[in-house]
Symmetry: C2
Subunit: 328 residues, 2 copies
């Protein structure tokens, strides 16, 4: 049974996982959807009530019923590397590839539907609340008056994008920032704005969850840190990430979150306050882990490889929608 | 409790449903996401472990916990009607609106995740097979040789887009067409191609399903019909649609299909052959129904209104992901 990795050729993080799979002699096929149609190809036949499908990539042929898992890492846009790319060909190729994979019965990290849903920040915040995780008071609004009322109740605020998009992806160059005390919020009427009570943090927490395994890393806030520097992604990098234990209540909440979100992988960001409380900031279903592994030595890549390599249970109900992690 | 309809102002099909809701005195709020931010607005607050959200559209304010159902009809692109539209604002507005609605606990017709998945034609074909519906022999491939082999086994074929996109949406101007006997299939290498055994049909069937209710319509093939004219959407319109019974085996299959697909609404297209067998062609989760209602007099709009107006069950488990039609 083969592991299928959907990612680009330049993805060195995927390389880290492939090393472990190779060491265990688990067959791997790596496919970049951008290489359709040419470097990669596909075929599926629906005859007499059954389905037989095949993928071909980098000289290797694999049957869809021979897939044990699919890792959606950093797949390219389908058919974007052909001589004359078009929206039409991308749509057709995307439908053909993902439409077939969705029928394969393989385990997903993460299933495309779960991955898509998991990106909605307002949904994340509500799910975190329901899962029992501490969530800083948050407002998402297009009403300036609602923003003013909120700022009166919670004077120390940060503002961040609703979409939670990474600032490194232009044109979304909006890091999390502290709100100036004299902000008048009139601009709220021109776009949804996310305001959140600032956590006076003594550390950033990155909790990487792979299946049932939790690997937490903690980065202490430098004593001389500028309180206006709230986005850890842009903070000076001299303090390293260190392994950390996970408080039992947080572990319970995270398990509940991932179960409901139907995610096999999630990278949680928390802010730790002076009392040691971990405040939920977000869960990125495709969050990077290389920098944590390098700093802490935690075996994240190996844990992912082990999850992907797990044998398919004999009596697993083959769900057409493929979210076999769902227990129902 | 209010019914929320996400659609454009010009949507006359939605008007048909609103008439019935008004007659039953069910509160309705109609919102076009394109009217964000200006004609429509939103606000949501996450404080002390709970969530309170509101939508405002056309002068009406509704609380998200006061929604009984959401009908996703023909919503516009979020925030596309502002003075200076941008991808960024559309993304932020989409995240804010749908992210909050996903936490509302309302019943969906159809839930965005189910709707998205339901568009994958290869997934549809496999699900139809597993649901016990007759599916014509089909091949989706980028291998010319696979196409040639398939044509040798099934000489009478049609070709259609994999994405099942409607030909009226440029640039996807590809109606279903009959394959010429001398086709050489070399072009298959340039894009995924869907080949399907042509059903020599004596009628087209449109089966509209609303919740548990099935409304079937049948359009007999004209005796002098050109066998090359396989796409009913482009056939001459002189033969009207007539109400039809649903064979019990098809009804069972359709129920299984919609249960697994988690759809509250689906428009199925079948081809009826000389033996009376209904062959599954596709299920469109947002298929039009106005033309069927006009021809047959079947009360589709009223049935949709009744589904949307159903009271929320007292003890319904409020799922964060909102697919409350799922029984698990």
């Amino acid at each position: 049974m083969t592991v299928l990795i959907l990612t680009s050729e330049q993805d060195v993080t995927a390389d880290m996982v492939v090393v472990h799979l190779n060491a265990s002699a688990v067959p791997v096929v790596r496919l970049d959807p951008a290489d359709l149609i040419g470097g990669a190809a596909l075929s599926g036949e629906y005859v007499h009530g059954s389905f037989r499908g095949h993928l071909w990539s980098a000289g290797r042929l694999v049957g869809l019923d021979g897939l044990r898992s699919v890792w959606v890492r950093r797949p390219g846009t389908p058919a974007s590397r052909v001589a004359e790319p078009s929206e039409w060909l991308t749509e057709e190729s995307s439908q053909a590839l993902y439409g077939m994979l969705r029928s394969s019965g393989a385990r997903w990290m993460n299933h495309p539907d779960a991955a898509r849903r998991a990106r909605y920040k307002p949904w994340q915040l509500r799910l975190a609340q329901r899962s029992g995780l501490p969530v800083p008071a948050t407002l998402i609004t297009t009403f300036p008056q609602a923003a003013r009322d909120f700022a009166a109740r919670f004077p120390d605020l940060v503002v961040k994008p609703v979409s939670g998009a990474h600032p490194q992806e232009p044109p979304r160059a909006v890091p999390t920032s502290r709100v100036a005390p004299d902000a008048d919020f009139a601009a709220v009427a021109f776009g949804p704005t996310l305001l959140q009570r600032r956590i006076a943090k003594r550390a950033d927490i990155r909790l990487t969850v792979v299946g049932e395994r939790m690997l937490a890393a903690r980065k202490a806030t430098a004593p001389d840190a500028d309180p206006d520097e709230v986005d850890v992604r842009f903070a000076p990098g001299d303090v390293p990430w260190r392994p950390s234990d996970v408080p039992p209540r947080i572990a319970d909440g995270v398990r509940a979150y991932l179960r409901e979100a139907e995610l096999a992988y999630g990278a949680f960001d928390f802010a730790e306050d002076a009392d040691g409380t971990w405040w939920f900031l977000e869960c990125n279903q495709s969050g990077q882990f290389g920098f944590v592994e390098v700093d802490t030595g935690q075996p994240i890549a190996r844990t992912i490889a082990e999850w992907l390599a797990r044998p398919v249970p004999e009596n697993a109900p083959k769900r057409v929608n493929g979210t076999s992690s769902r227990v129902c």
